[in-house]
């Protein structure tokens, strides 16, 4: 039926609508300023010089009691009493199944022992809290605030494989004993698909957090998500484009500079890639292909007080049969191998990977990594051991 109302004179309601439009959008501009404001990185200090022990320490043990048959992708944080709490995904048989849960266990440096692991996030719970079907969970990444609050990000999948992932966030104010209900982070307009976490976040001087995330659906690229401490997304900046890179690990160098180590995700070259920023993460330069081999696995790194980088990576172009600790003074372009942490993998066992390198407040270094997809291995070493081994090579 023909309608010519758009030619009729404007009624009072129409002018009222105009006022509403101006008010609504005006309010938008007032409450929604441009978020892409750099605040400057917080460079985490290297605490190892304060470690008084001169005896080299190099010890390893398995995390937890081996309850889940399959374990992968661990992260760790020091809680208020000096103990360490680890998080990883584990399950009955395989990643991607609905019996996979996020497990946690505690390490006591006084006794050098791990507690038995307990699941904290299971598919059923997530499903109930998020009011949508959840198929599997994975990739738990932990962060602790100065206030003592723990923030844990993990990935959940409703449809499809890891390409259909979304990020959720929970927090704990009692050192990880009890946790809040999950909150979903919306990071993509396309069904909020395919955002994942792996590496620890960076901190900004204004109290916000920079969470390194990556996408796996069609494009494979990395982004830096800027969040408030209670999980509101402020901004998102792309580190790379296309299909070449995943799992960024960002290590600040100064307030404005940082280097991100990236896992390569295409066929060639089988080498690690870095990108750098000099404006606090607002823009990133062209990707640089390093000499460092990369078999499609994530890298973990820490900055020492000398400015050098301590890097843990798979020093082979294929499979993950070797896990190596190296040191670099030029952001990974050249590096010296300190130790082959693991070197006897075989292709059936899926090797050793997904390193998480951190420091405790005593200055000791701790490394978690997936051991043959069955267990999480925990390695402890100190500055004395580091100095002894780097000079002997």
């Amino acid at each position: 039926m023909p309608d010519s109302s758009h030619n009729s004179p404007r009624s009072l309601m129409h002018w009222g609508v105009l006022a509403l439009v101006l008010l609504n959008v005006g309010l938008l501009a007032l409450t929604n300023p441009t978020r892409a404001i750099s605040a400057g990185f917080v460079v985490e200090p290297d605490l190892s010089p304060r470690d008084p022990s001169t005896t080299p320490i190099y010890e390893s043990r398995f995390v937890g009691a081996g309850v889940p048959a399959f374990s992968h992708s661990a992260s760790m944080v020091e809680i208020s009493d000096g103990r360490l709490r680890a998080f990883w995904m584990g399950g009955g048989s395989h990643e991607g199944k609905s019996d996979v849960a996020i497990y946690t266990a505690l390490f006591d440096p006084a006794t050098n022992a791990w507690t038995r692991e307990t699941p904290i996030i299971q598919v059923d719970d997530s499903q109930r809290h998020l009011h949508r079907n959840i198929h599997t969970v994975g990739n738990a990444t932990i962060h602790k605030f100065d206030s003592g609050r723990l923030l844990l990000w993990y990935v959940s999948v409703s449809v499809g494989g890891w390409a259909g992932s979304s990020i959720n966030m929970i927090h704990s104010d009692d050192d990880g004993e009890t946790w809040s209900a999950p909150k979903r982070l919306v990071t993509s307009p396309f069904f909020n698909l395919s955002s994942l976490v792996k590496s620890p976040p960076v901190r900004f001087t204004d109290g916000t957090i920079g969470l390194p995330i990556y996408h796996e659906f069609m494009g494979k690229f990395c982004e830096l998500l800027r969040l408030t401490p209670d999980g509101k997304v402020l901004h998102k900046q792309r580190l790379t484009k296309g299909r070449r890179t995943l799992q960024p690990a960002i290590i600040p160098r100064s307030e404005t500079e940082a280097t991100a180590f990236l896992r390569r995700s295409d066929k060639a070259p089988r080498r690690a890639i870095t990108v750098a920023t000099s404006d606090g993460g607002l823009s990133w330069g062209e990707p640089l292909i390093l000499d460092m081999p990369n078999p499609g696995s994530p890298i973990s790194a820490l900055r020492l007080d000398t400015g050098e980088l301590l890097i843990v990576f798979n020093n082979v172009p294929r499979k993950r049969d070797k896990l190596t600790l190296a040191i670099s003074s030029d952001e990974g372009v050249t590096y010296d191998i300190i130790k082959e942490i693991e070197s006897k993998g075989d292709h059936l066992s899926n090797g050793f990977g997904y390193p998480w390198l951190m420091q405790s407040s005593t200055g000791q270094f701790h490394l978690l990594y997936t051991w043959r997809r069955e267990r999480i291995k925990h390695l402890t070493f100190n500055r004395a051991w580091l100095e002894q081994n780097r000079s002997s090579r």
Partner: protein, 423 residues
């Protein structure tokens, strides 16, 4: 407390699609009410501790205000057979939806560093653009556009969705689907209106059996390629699309058939059409033949041998340059070639084809030259094939699959063009 707007949005979409698929509009009032009730009850059926609506939400996520409103209006139309807004109102909204989706979605897949989605986290430029669009819509009385914008922004102020990004309150992939569906429905309505001129409507867009079989064939082969590339990239590259492999020979076959169609046309029409027409058809046939040969590399090898010998003879000392030049030369040719093809494709499908149906003078000129014009479903098939091969197939050899698809689809266009009466 989870997002009420998100959940109700999913519910409305679920009910709307249920009513749509059961063609509720064409049924009696009683049946319509029954279908509505069934859909509402179905939403709450628990499966493994979660209501069915939760599974829909897991699949499509939370709906924007626009989708929420469109689903509500759709349900109202299905139940009462009346529209609250005019076709003009809908047209304005749908065009805006498609345009903004074209701006937003391609970049989210990682093509560039620039990501328009980040504008939704807070940007004065974005706010200004929204203001201008809202004012323009208000001035031109596109009421539905104004309503969607105001509703979406208002919901954003109240943080009614899990998202903190303004885009998610304004559009989502379901609203784009609804917009495209609306366009298709409008096209069908126009076609029905033209049904009073059967000679025009029936034949220019008809489906033939061979076309349908070819679509199925191309789709199956492309999907096999996609499945293979996703699961075992090595097998895809070293068996399926390799040099002189299955896909490559099928591509040759496709182009060869195309050239045969052209040559046969030249033969049968030799006494009834102009020299220009016959000449161009002959050239098209030769072009198909050339591409078929190119697939099996005789053309490429010819060029390579020539350039290598030429430069070797003329540049014996500067070996580095020679190497660069040769490699650069081949690469440069390929680059120009592929970019040129892309431009030609856009001009052919998106400019010439629509112009043909709109301007009789251009139509006459095109017919006299013997340029085949694609039918709408042929263009759509080409687009879908391109999207699947370029966006979904995860391999650097995805171009081989696209060439295969193109070979058969172009042959179909040449064999069964929309302007077949000219042949």
């Amino acid at each position: 407390m989870t997002s009420i707007l998100g959940m109700t949005g999913c519910a409305l979409v679920m009910v709307f699609f249920g009513l749509l698929m059961t063609q509720a509009r064409s049924r009696s009032v009683r049946v319509r009410c029954v279908i509505l009730l069934v859909m509402i009850v179905a939403m709450f059926i628990p499966v493994n501790g979660l209501i069915a609506l939760g599974y829909v939400r897991g699949l499509i996520g939370d709906m924007s205000f626009t989708t929420w409103l469109l689903a509500l209006l759709g349900i109202h139309a299905q139940l009462t057979n009346r529209e609250r807004f005019t076709t003009r109102d809908y047209c304005g909204l749908m065009m805006l939806l498609i345009a903004s989706s074209l701006f937003l979605y391609p970049f989210t897949l990682g093509l560039t560093i620039f990501d328009p989605y980040t504008l939704g986290y807070g940007s004065y430029g974005f706010d200004l653009a929204l203001l201008l669009i809202a004012l323009l819509a208000w001035w031109k009385k596109f009421n539905l556009v104004v309503l969607c914008l105001m509703g979406g922004i208002f919901a954003y102020h109240l943080n009614l969705l899990e998202s903190g990004n303004l885009w998610d309150y304004l559009i989502d992939p379901i609203s784009l689907t609804l917009a495209l569906g609306w366009c298709v429905e409008q096209a069908f309505r126009k076609r029905q209106a033209m049904a009073s001129f059967p000679s025009l409507a029936d034949q220019t867009q008809a489906f033939t059996k061979i076309e349908i079989v070819t679509y199925m064939f191309v789709l199956v082969m492309v999907l096999i390629g996609y499945g293979m590339a996703s699961n075992d990239e090595q097998m895809f590259e070293e068996v399926y699309v390799k040099e002189d492999g299955l896909i490559e020979w099928l591509t040759v076959l496709g182009f060869a058939i195309g050239s045969l169609v052209c040559f046969r046309r030249v033969f049968t029409l030799r006494s009834s059409h102009s020299m220009l027409f016959l000449g161009l058809s002959m050239m098209l046939g030769l072009a198909f033949l050339f591409v078929a040969g190119e697939e099996i590399s005789w053309g490429q090898r010819l060029l390579n041998v020539e350039s290598a010998d030429f430069f070797r003879d003329h540049n014996a000392q500067e070996e580095t340059n020679l190497h660069n030049l040769e490699v650069g030369g081949v690469k440069l040719n390929k680059l120009i070639f592929s970019k040129g093809i892309a431009v030609l494709m856009v001009l052919y499908f998106a400019v010439l084809a629509p112009l043909y149906s709109k301007k009789p003078r251009i139509a006459k000129w095109v017919d006299s030259l013997g340029i085949p014009i694609p039918k709408l479903h042929q263009s759509i098939a080409c687009l879908i094939m391109l999207l699947i091969t370029q966006l979904m197939v995860d391999s650097s050899n995805r171009g081989e699959l696209a060439e295969f698809g193109g070979a058969f689809l172009f042959t179909i266009i040449v064999a069964y063009p929309s302007n077949h009466r000219a042949f």
